[in-house]
Amino acid sequence: MRRLFLFIPLAIFIALGVLFWQGLKLDPTELPTALLNKPVPTFSLPALGNKDEMLTQDSLKGKPALLNVWATWCPTCKEEHAQLNKISREEGVTIYGINYKDERASANDWLARYSNPYVVNIYDEAGSLGLDLGVYGAPETYVIDANGIIRYRHVGAVDQAVWEKLRTILQQVSEPKTVQGEAS
């Protein structure tokens, strides 16, 4: 019985080893959004295409959608642009854009040149909406449900693998909403 106590350090060592080994697999750059399951912050900003059109948080409601933060100065945004076009064209997913700390003219040029996957673009010149959303680097892609509640955030480019993940989350957030929609 006494002798069993001698194994306590070994047991602690193994437990810590397993813990740290698991820790190695974590990605420290992956930060959950502080706004998870909270509504998109209130804002009132002009549209990118038409500066007289004002958009608010209510403009994003109605359908589960992706909310993509992008800018022309961001090379990774260019990288994911084709994928966004594909998602919007082939899968019919609503994508809202936040044009983050950018110039209106060059952003519109970019959309004309590389084609426009966005239903509407919010022109966030000062980055105020970005700040309220907790954006720390473009591109970021949020999944929002029909009520404008944030359900997921992805930081970095959206590629096929990321899209598969986003699609499942989109489907998950769509299901209860349709039931609710039928009931009301």
């Binding site: 420290p28 750059t29 930060l31 959950p32 959004t33 502080a34 706004l35 700390k101 980055g127 700040l131 309220d132 959303l133 907790g134 954006v135 720390y136 680097g137």
Partner: protein, 170 residues
């Protein structure tokens, strides 16, 4: 020699000091608060730098935001809450005391306490063992000392008589 010194010094100048922006504060207290806050808040993009150190655009934005709030007279708590609401607990270099972070704050003290207890217990056991050994070894010693002497004397006697016998034999 002078040339060498010059070369070394010219290299040194490339050592850029982190993020410098020019902010003017109403008073020294405000400046101190700004410096304290930007040192305590972590840059979300660069992970291991605080806002004061980082040159990333987001750190610049957040510094400006801290400056704006300090100038507006917001309390430190309001400013920190503002950042946490947007960027999560991650931005705090000094995590808050919650149920979740309790282990982080007090875990080391608990471990230290456990260590002290283990050391004390081991010490006590060692002492007890020693005492047991002492009492176990000393009492039989005294007990059989008389017996011992008698045996020794007996042995010596037989030996001396044996010697005598040996001497007598030839």
């Amino acid at each position: 020699m002078r040339l060498l010194l010059l070369m070394v010094l010219s290299v040194c100048t490339f050592q850029a000091f982190a993020a410098i922006d020019t902010y003017e504060f109403v008073d020294d207290a405000a400046r101190e608060r700004f410096q304290h806050l930007t040192a305590e808040l972590r840059c979300p993009k660069c992970q291991n730098q605080n806002l004061a150190d980082s040159n990333s655009p987001i750190a610049e934005d957040l510094r400006r935001e801290v400056y704006r709030m300090v100038e507006a007279g917001d309390t430190d708590e309001t400013i920190v809450d503002f950042m946490v609401a947007r960027y999560g607990e991650f931005v705090l270099y000094r995590p808050r005391l919650t149920g979740y972070t309790w282990v982080l704050w007090y875990g080391p003290f608990v471990l230290l306490g456990l260590g002290v207890i283990v050391v004390l217990m081991l010490g006590r056991r060692k002492k007890a063992n020693k005492e047991m050994l002492n009492s176990a070894s000393s009492s039989p010693d005294e007990n059989d000392s008389a017996e011992h002497k008698a045996r020794m004397n007996a042995l010596l006697k037989t030996e001396s008589s044996g010697n005598r016998l040996n001497k007598e034999a030839p």
